[in-house]
């Protein structure tokens, strides 16, 4: 594996780490499946892409987060206030976003960001400088992504120890108890969905800036990638306290990207095959986990 390949999988892995953290909040902490993800990822991406073309990449990341958060609020309000099944609510938001994303990009399905600026554009001038078998600008790009992810992990860890964060965790742990302790579970769910999809939107916003191009299908299958990251992370590191959970799912995302890159190195496998490989991988890992549990139980009985 060449240095460039390693840098690429680390970069994309870390960006998907943000996505995985978002999905972790809804799927694991709230214990609610949220299917908005594919839509909110693209929503963050499209907003970010348009702002890059206007030379406002940092605003692109911020609005990318907010766009995702809005999508999350939409799903969660449908679910909690209109009592629509959460899976259906997620699909509705995702489907609606398909049109909205085309409005955002003025009906262009795919375009390059070369005419504009991304947050990584400032590193372009270092392209000719060689560093660690790669060029300095690539190293700096990786470093910036790393710092953003660390910053988000730090914020989330702080947040989940605040009063609101603890209330959100408890909503997922024992909703009935929270209802009988004068905290609105509906509000907690809406806030958690906003944060989760905000992270997914931010992930999309960052992803297209790194890629320097946008396509309307950029969000397809993100849900599965996020889940795969969580499952891989938890399979390798086991579930721990909330403080390390975010680090674990990020490492899971990097690990997933590593496996993805390895799979692509196998001859006769091309990117189209990756989705089915991912799905089969998830099913196998989940199956193995169940098997291990069963074996452990049987041993305990003996």
């Amino acid at each position: 594996m060449s240095a460039n390949l390693i840098i690429t999988f680390l970069e994309i892995g870390l960006i998907f780490g943000l996505l995985a953290m978002g999905i972790y909040i809804t799927f694991i902490i709230l214990d609610i499946p949220d299917l908005t993800v594919d839509g909110s990822f693209t929503f963050g991406a499209s907003i970010s892409a348009m702002l890059c073309l206007h030379n406002l990449p940092i605003l692109g990341l911020i609005l990318g987060f907010l766009a995702g958060a809005m999508a999350g609020v939409a799903t969660s309000v449908m679910n909690t206030k209109l009592k629509i099944n959460v899976i259906l609510a997620g699909i509705l938001t995702m489907t609606g976003l398909y049109s909205i994303n085309f409005w955002v990009t003025k009906k262009t399905p795919s375009f390059s960001l070369n005419g504009g600026k991304t947050i990584f554009s400032v590193f372009d001038k270092y392209e000719s400088i060689k560093f660690l078998n790669s060029s300095l600008n690539k190293i700096l790009t990786l470093l910036l992504i790393f710092l953003i992810v660390i910053f988000i992990i730090f914020l989330l860890n702080r947040f989940f120890k605040t009063r609101m964060g603890v209330a959100i965790r408890a909503t997922g742990d024992n909703e009935m108890m929270i209802n009988s302790s004068s905290i609105s579970t509906d509000l907690m769910k809406i806030i958690a969905f906003a944060i989760a999809n905000g992270l997914v939107g931010l992930s999309g916003a960052l992803f297209i800036q790194r890629d320097n191009s946008y396509t309307s299908s950029v969000g397809v299958g993100m849900m599965v990638i996020g889940l795969a990251s969580i499952i891989i992370g938890e399979a390798i590191f086991r579930r721990r306290k909330i403080g390390v959970a975010m680090i674990i799912v990020t490492l899971g995302a990097v690990m997933y990207r590593f496996l993805y890159t390895c799979a692509l190195l196998i001859p006769r496998i091309d990117p189209i095959d990756i989705k089915i490989i991912t799905v089969v991988l998830i099913v196998i890992i989940l199956g193995i986990q169940l098997l291990i549990q069963k074996i452990k139980k049987r041993r305990a009985k003996c």
Binding site: F159, K161, T162, R163, M164, G165, V166, A167, R169, A170, D173, N174, M176, M177, I178, N179, S180, S181, S182, I183, S184, T185
Partner: protein
């Protein structure tokens, strides 16, 4: 204090399974009253408590707490003034969170502070340790342990503490010792009595144990088929014996049989 007027609850309305769970219940509690409720399964005891707490929708009637009509208020809003402990120890606590965090959740409504402030501050921890000490179960040394690791009795004691920590106007206990072994149940009841006396709480407790129903509280209510059929107060209640109550049970059943 608590006034219940003409309260009616019907389950599965307008279907063949329609069942009148509460049939025009009237009840008035004074401040500091400790009421025990006994009755057969399906008598409407839990439904009464659940409708006071807002977990069951009522068809008719009013529930007034401290001159405030709470009949249509959602349960989490009522929770500011009413604490409830359920039969199942796992209902009242969050298993994957620590004892400290659970207590923090219970006190959260108390201080309407900044939601982004740290949940477990030093002063919080000190306060929680003091509270846990009052239970006498040694939980104050395990404040960072997950609640899922506690026994049913310990969890129930913690639930009780959480339900009463913000000094509610009304405490509802729905057979909160029924899932525990006799020795633990006695201990939890002693803790319950201690908290109620200390905080001077108005309490309604459902129990299947007639002995406890007579021993605790100053009022005893007997329910049957969604009706309150007998209320014993103070003197009258203390004079009751188990056999008296058993006779009453028997009478109501025969009465019903004759009517049918």
């Amino acid at each position: 204090m608590l006034k219940i007027r003409d309260l009616k609850v019907t389950f599965n309305k307008n279907t063949v399974d329609e069942k009148i769970a509460l049939n025009h219940i009237n009840l008035i509690l004074k401040e500091g009253d400790f009421v025990t409720i006994i009755g057969n399964n399906g008598a409407g005891k839990s439904t009464l408590l659940n409708s006071i707490f807002g977990l069951v929708e009522t068809d008719k009637g009013k529930i007034i707490l401290d001159n405030k009509n709470i009949t249509t208020l959602s349960s989490h809003k009522r929770a500011k003034e009413i604490g409830m402990v359920f039969q199942n120890p796992s209902y009242g606590t969050a298993p994957h969170m620590t004892i400290g965090e659970n207590l923090a959740l219970a006190t959260m409504s108390d201080k309407q502070g900044n939601p982004f402030s740290k949940c477990m501050t030093k002063s919080n921890i000190a306060q929680f340790k003091e509270l846990l000490k009052s239970l006498g179960l040694g939980l104050e040394n395990r404040i960072n342990a997950n609640v899922g690791l506690l026994s049913g009795g310990q969890r129930q004691a913690l639930s009780l503490l959480m339900a009463t920590v913000s000094n509610p106007k009304l405490l509802l206990l729905d057979e909160h010792t029924a899932a525990l072994d006799p020795k633990t149940a006695t201990k939890i009841l002693a803790i319950t009595q201690d908290i109620i006396t200390r905080k001077h709480l108005t309490t309604i407790m459902i129990t299947h144990n007639i002995d406890n129903a007579i021993k605790y509280g100053n009022k005893l209510i007997l329910m049957q088929n969604g009706n309150i059929i007998k209320i014993y107060e103070n003197e009258e209640k203390h004079k009751l014996s188990i056999s008296d109550v058993m006779k009453l049970y028997a009478n109501t059943i025969t009465d019903e049989m004759i009517l049918k």
